[in-house]
Assembly symmetry: C2
Homo-oligomer: 212 residues x 2
Amino acid sequence: MHLTKEDIQALNRVKRLNLINSITGIKPANLIGTQDKARKTNLAIFSSVVHLGSDPALIGMILRPHSDVRRHTHENILETGVYTINHIPQSFIQQAHYTSAKFDKEVSEFKRCGFTEEYISDFEAPFIKESSIKIGLKLVEQVPIKANDTMLLVGEVQHLILPEEAVSKSGYIDLGSIQDVGISGLNSYYSLEKIAQFPYARPEETPEFDHA
Amino acid sequence: MHLTKEDIQALNRVKRLNLINSITGIKPANLIGTQDKARKTNLAIFSSVVHLGSDPALIGMILRPHSDVRRHTHENILETGVYTINHIPQSFIQQAHYTSAKFDKEVSEFKRCGFTEEYISDFEAPFIKESSIKIGLKLVEQVPIKANDTMLLVGEVQHLILPEEAVSKSGYIDLGSIQDVGISGLNSYYSLEKIAQFPYARPEETPEFDHA
């Protein structure tokens, strides 16, 4: 099947949304935890979290335009300057999915969707007790994407909380062993199984695959 | 285990690189196909591809700073204005991984790593014959990220090539059925199995998870 730009534009809105959200491949499943100055908490599922760099440790995420609807996550991050990224354990995917409903600002998705707030001292954003891997970030940059009025939010890692036994001596995490999940499109969830690990690739050590 | 920003900075470089590249969760596994004006092709593995929007269909990817090393992918995209994103089939992960070796500009990773170039008319960038899902993009925006001198490259989908039987009536793709893979960190590969699908979440239809 070959769809051109024009074919894609001619699809009905829901099919285009589902298809184009699926074509980049598997996406990470994370819940973003925030609170406002009045300590009202918010939790929202994001599949657009992306690694930006290790030194300093920077992580990005894409925010939709404010025009559609109020964006509590963004408003809270601007108010407090901090937020958390929490992995979604496999046994909590249904609850995590429903944080995407447009609840009123007065409703905390922590309580409504059955997650437990967890705090560490001197850090204003709520972590999720039920998550295996939790990251506390400070907002360092907001990068506007003109092409469609979205925004790349850049955060610097301030805190990293994870099970010691999940981290190998070299710093790798086996996402299968901690029951991590991935997302495809807007609503499909996948379990992960590690099938291979390869060394750092150097030209002179690269096997000959030349098939011509 | 709780690591602060200072603890992370104090890790040795390789452990920090592996750990921070792992903490965002599973990442999509894609090969970026390009060629320069002289039709020398290039193929490079990227795990930072991210969905930006469906209408128009926009996809982002993160480029490392040019300072480290020559970036053939970026140079080629600037020369021709187009590039391809190709999913990595499970049976080709080793070959795909080795495209990350820093081969000389004269070496095409297509030939060196055993992939077959495929072209469609009036589109200058090479697709991968062996891939299940292939996307042809036109560069529309380069967004500098000041915090660490990286860049978000924004492309608009011009062509989408995929197996018709992999797409459901509503536009979903089962990534397990097409043997898609995910990446963790810099060198670990995962198979994917769909475990759940939930409806679009509306507040009034959201089950009660309140555990308090």
